[in-house]
Amino acid sequence: MATAIEFHDLCFATPQGRQLLDMISFPVEEGTTVAILGRSGSGKTTLLRTVNRMITPTSGDVLLHGKSVSEFDLIKLRRNMGYVIQETGLFPHFTVERNVGLVLEAEGSSRQDRVRRSHELLEMVGLNPANYAMRFPHQLSGGQRQRVGLARALAAEPDFLLMDEPFGALDPLTRAEMQDMLRDLLCRLKKTVLLVTHDLDEALYLADRIILLSEGKLLAYLEPNQFMSTREPLIEAYVRAFRRGWHKAAPEIRLPNRGV
């Protein structure tokens, strides 16, 4: 499988001297999902944003199919990357339909094409266009807004998806629905995905590889089952932090099957 993204000795320090990324190097294979885990402030979002050049590293490079991201035309680069964030960033003055068709509108697609594609995507993310296309973001629930955000990110058929804690603000049941929807979509669509999350369960469920960052340094680059079984102390500590409630309340109860 070809390497779609490569982080090469990536470093980023703020003007005040804080090292947010410290010699990060790892590959992301085409068509796979890599989850980026870590505490708040560990550099996850910073790392994500070096890929679409929202942040310029102080040294090192990000390569897309072997070519440095700085060599691409910025607008073309970004239009080939879907971007999904926790706050969704939906434009409140646009209808759902217009929000989804945003990148196509920017590229000059005809209204007919945009509407058709919008409706197609809304169906894909589980929103009936007849009901939702003409609504405004403030008329949607959190989960619905995230679905629209995802549809918008997929509209221009980008090769890459950059996701920054997209489901972090949702309740666990809605989050599970959204994760299932994303998994189904990615099975069909074959995108290269970088998913920033601090939810270990989400990373285990969705990712082909898990990255653990701590204070800007790369601690792990493992497949999910390796991540869970490693004896590496810092990684173990992270895993344990997710299990405390279970161990305390019901150590003998095994995790119910999620119907995977």
Binding site: N52, M54, I75, K76, L77, R78, R79, M81, G82, Y83, I85, E87, T88, G89, L90, F91, P92, H93, L102, V103, E105, A106, F136, H138, R152, A153, L162
Partner: protein, 184 residues
């Protein structure tokens, strides 16, 4: 009003992009704003080109007074847009121009219009005072009426001036309401 808008809106937009300049520039327009209009007219009278025609003084002063509300509101309107929306607009690959016309301007519109509204109503008020330096208009009727103790003259000037201000306020309020978008 046209001149003021033409100056203030682009300046406001530029300030929103270079917030370092915001304090000094807004500070300057603030000082201009604090000068009572009659005093402003007084300052401008002795100036060579300006002082010759009352209309010129009136227009320049009106412009100066209209600047602050429009400028400040444009600046605040654009700065006040949720950062995550701007972030997404950039990240999805909108050019700067597209981001400005599709996102920033429509979202800042209610604020800018509110600034225009304040400026318009203030301008009407100041315009009436400009009659004191011979600029004519409705203010002239008011002053003549006061001078000759003729109530009808006073009202002939005052009522239309007040109505004009109220009408402008109402129209611009309506426009503002059209542009307002609920956020959540």
């Amino acid at each position: 009003m046209l001149f003021a808008t033409a100056i203030a809106v682009p300046t406001g937009v530029w300030l929103a992009r270079s917030p370092g300049w915001a304090k000094p520039v807004i500070g300057l327009t603030n000082i201009l704003q604090t000068i009572p209009s009659l005093a402003m007219f007084g300052f401008l009278l002795p100036l060579p080109w300006l002082g010759e025609r009352a209309a010129r003084i009136a227009i320049v002063s009106l412009c100066a007074y209209a600047l602050l509300p429009i400028l400040r509101n444009t600046y605040e309107g654009i700065r006040g847009i949720d950062r995550s929306i701007i972030e997404v607009a950039c990240a999805l690959g909108l050019t700067d121009a597209q981001r400005f016309f599709m996102v920033e301007l429509p979202m800042a519109a209610p604020f800018i219009l509110a600034g225009l509204r304040t400026a318009t109503v203030t301008s009407i008020g100041i315009a009436t005072i400009a009659a004191a330096v011979g600029a004519g208009g409705l203010g002239e009727l008011i002053f003549r009426g006061v001078a000759s103790v003729d109530n009808r003259l006073v009202l002939a000037g005052a009522i239309p001036a007040a109505l004009l201000a109220l009408a402008a306020d109402a129209t611009l309020s309506q426009l503002e309401r059209w542009f307002k978008v609920p956020v959540s």
